[in-house]
Symmetry: C2
Subunit: 150 residues, 2 copies
Amino acid sequence: MTQTTTGQRLYKIGEVAEDVGITQRTIRYYEELGLLGADRARLKGSHRLFTDADIARLRELVRLRNLLGLSLDELTQLAEAAHVSQYLRVRWESSTEDAERTEIIEAAIPNVERQLELVHARQRSLAEFEAELTDKLARMRERLSALEQQ
Amino acid sequence: MTQTTTGQRLYKIGEVAEDVGITQRTIRYYEELGLLGADRARLKGSHRLFTDADIARLRELVRLRNLLGLSLDELTQLAEAAHVSQYLRVRWESSTEDAERTEIIEAAIPNVERQLELVHARQRSLAEFEAELTDKLARMRERLSALEQQ
DNA sequence: CTGCTATCTTACGTTTACGTAAGGAACAGA
DNA sequence: TCTGTTCCTTACGTAAACGTAAGATAGCAG
């Protein structure tokens, strides 16, 4: 029962790995590349502890990798765009709680929008490919039935 | 002006590579893996010559690789399924011209169908991902506007 | 405190998918 | 026939994305 002061559940790497369906090595590697938040403080001695947000992030990364075929390098670039703008703004006006939250959300939105763009682009390419395959199949079937009834 | 006895246009590897948008090395590598028809006879001395069908095949391979992220190993398996059934059948009944054509088309259809299945599966995954991203974006925008007007 | 299991770092190994260089034939045009 | 370009094979090199083994440390159960 590991918990933060805010009562958040925390997970160790083995749990996370099994949950997300990747290896511990992959998680450490992604962390090393900075794909998980920059300064993920290692609580409790030297064992890494992950939040639900970390797990969600990992799932997101895996999907971007698997579905869109993005390289880890491209994934870091996607992440940087969001983090840079986030930290620049937080520094600029971090007075009230609400203001800070606003900034964080404002910074995160373009990142999600970018991901959606990538998904849509891939969907268009796939639709095109699908159309060609469907056409091809139809033509083959036509020829076949033409041959069969001589 | 290289031509076969049937009057088909033939291309050399440099032409093909530029046309398809890959390197000569990649083409030779794919050939080595058996991704282009098994026994592509090397006409005219030792220079490879490619048909329009070969070029179409290469484009197909590149798309399956890029859009679906299939490994070259998976691509060979996809190809084998078609070729095996094709050669088995050709041997069984290769009497008339029409019968042979019929067999070839019959053998090729499942391959295209399999490709379509893969495309559809990927489309479903992408649609799911898209829905989640859209939801996420909507929720973020709601929170943002709620914060902005206090 | 002890023993057992999970994690840690370090670092070399591995696979995939080609890149690239070397030395030598084969073409295509003049 | 000469020559510059294109292609050939052979073979070692490489980047990405982890795999894997070793030896040490941390955390938990009794």
